[in-house]
Amino acid sequence: MAVTAAPKIVTSRLGHADSHTLERYLASGGYEGLRKALAMTPEAVAHEVDTASLLGRGGAGFPAGRKWAMLRKAPVTYLVINGDESEPATFKDHLLLERDPHQLLEGVLIAAYALQVTQAFIYIRGEFALALERVQAALNDAYAAGAVGSDIFGSGFSVDVVVHPGAGAYICGEETALLESLEGKRGFPRIKPPFFPAAVGLYGEPTVVNNVETMSNLPWIVVNGGAAFAALGGGRSTGTRLFALAGHVNNPGVFELEMVKTTFSDLIHAPALGGGIPHGRALKAFIPGGVSAPWFGPDRIDLPLGQDEVAEAGSMLGSGSVVVMDDHTCAVRASWRITRFFARESCGQCTPCREGSGWLERIMRRIENGHGREADLGLLLDACDNISPGLDWPPQQTTICVLGPSIPSSIASAIEMFRDEFLVHIKEGGCPYG
């Protein structure tokens, strides 16, 4: 079944052109979740999120309830929302920020109440000018409506929310780099341990960092109960999730689907979803969860869209973005471009990532340009192995953050699946796809 009868949890308003306005939001049940939450104890609100077993929607898939539990005993805390969506081919938070900013704000306020924080920051990728304007306008309206600020809705609970613009750096999506950036510094990921900002976060204080989509689920969970959310999906992957589909498909876009109940084949081919591959071409490969994830071939197309299901098959659902490549795609060129992305975005702190990404990019480029050597394939895999020993999945790490170990994914996948294509580039001195 391609599309189940599951309710639209985070995209219910997007059919309306004015979905970003307070009027539309209030007319469609907006801020009812916050009112309900404020009448409950903070512990009871957190319990509902635990019951929902909401997995974080940013890419790592860590349970939101467990993240919160680490913080609730701390005296001083911050809540930081990660809206620095930059993983290539991921564009779901972009949609939520621009089209339903009040839903995000309500989620932030519910989380702030559950965690009893007095200040929350929404860090939004700098390139999202319209999203920054929409969220700021929504925040201004919410302050005026008494939904945020002092004594919200007469509950006695007060919290301030600040919209913070980024300035263009992929690495700031890594939560400790994001906190550094929010402190006014270069976006350098912090050395672990401590592993969790819940222990040492913003200004060294306990901090919860949650993704935009994760927060946007909270109003529905509070209104309908955590159990109703947990009843959707399957296994550990509860609820619905946004899948961003791009590349060679007739109908690219963001689709809200019940977890596990839909397969990659459904997502790519169903008429109501991706609508198939253009020009009647065949599928060559797809990336199941952002460019940090190993690629899958057509043999994996019947896998369900579930976090554990994709992990067991040797890749990750990651940020929920699926890139489709048709059979006219040059695997060398595609993996080279992904490698160049990492080479550009490496923050430069750790040698394996800083040097490795540059070397890998240059070797990939010379193969694509027809100047490759026979020994280059071995050299590529050897350099990849230096960044992530064993080239296992999940990857081993030689660096402070996971950007480094993400570099080998596309190269190792492309060589493993399309070795002959690399050899043709090398032997014939050029790209057979032109």
Binding site: L130, R186, A246, G247, P252, F341
Partner: protein, 238 residues
């Protein structure tokens, strides 16, 4: 921003050029203080203040960085050191329209490399360059998260939808003619919606929290110091 306030583009800046206008205006400094007041620590306002400076000048001038440093209580080198990490903060002059063409994977699969090649030849500049009239800076960008409208193009960080070579040329003509001024402000203006209120949460609660934070930090520092001076074998290294 008036046309006269914009620093001319092209060629290295000469010392003394527009020296007066390169500093933050009184209005910008007032806005900067409002922004700083939103954060527990002033330095957190560094990136927002850099955006504010770009809104006035179109780029981040050395003079503005000195002003920002003064407002935040850090050195100008710290401002430059942070700003130089971020793609959107330009420490060299750029055109009034920064046109970003994404060539990352989803766009690459949809003709982005060909579009960029066309853009370079039609504008007569390589990616990274600014046209002689100072109107357009062309950038090759990483993924901009608009992948269902590929190849994705932004002008001054406003999405303009998927472009073909022909539509790209029309877009550039419109930009040069000022036909898009309504929806695409000159480069540097990022957020046109101003925050309407300062912090509202009860200041005594916040002050109490800040005091508790300082106490907790002092406690941790003391504990760390004690661990350092502890005799061998008590704490020790792993």
């Amino acid at each position: 921003m008036t046309a006269a306030a914009r620093t001319p583009v092209g060629g290295p800046r000469r010392a003394g050029d527009h020296a007066a206008s390169a500093h933050l205006s009184a209005d910008a400094r007032a806005r900067a203080r409002e922004v700083i007041a939103l954060y527990p620590h002033p330095r957190s306002a560094l990136i927002p203040l850099c955006h504010l400076a770009q809104e006035e000048q179109g780029w981040l001038t050395p003079e503005a960085m000195v002003d920002i440093a003064g407002l935040l209580g850090v050195t100008p080198a710290e401002v430059l050191g942070t700003a130089s990490f971020y793609d959107m903060l330009h420490t060299e002059p750029v055109g009034s329209h920064v046109v970003s063409v994404c060539t990352n994977i989803a766009c690459l699969l949809n003709g982005a490399a060909e579009l960029l090649e066309h853009a370079e030849s039609s504008l007569g500049v390589n990616a990274g360059g600014t046209t002689a009239d100072g109107s357009i800076t062309l950038e090759e960008s990483e993924c901009l998260a608009d992948c269902d409208r590929a190849p994705c193009v932004q002008v001054n960080h406003r999405f303009v939808g998927a472009q073909t070579p022909a539509s790209f040329d029309r877009l550039v003509a419109d930009l040069r003619a000022g036909a898009r001024a309504q929806d695409i402000p000159d480069h540097g203006t990022l957020v046109r919606v101003r925050r309407t209120t300062g912090l509202q949460a009860d200041s005594t609660t916040v002050a109490a929290e800040r005091a508790a934070m300082a106490e907790a930090q002092a406690g941790r520092a003391a504990a760390a110091e004690a661990a350092k001076t502890a005799p061998e074998g008590v704490g020790g290294h792993p």
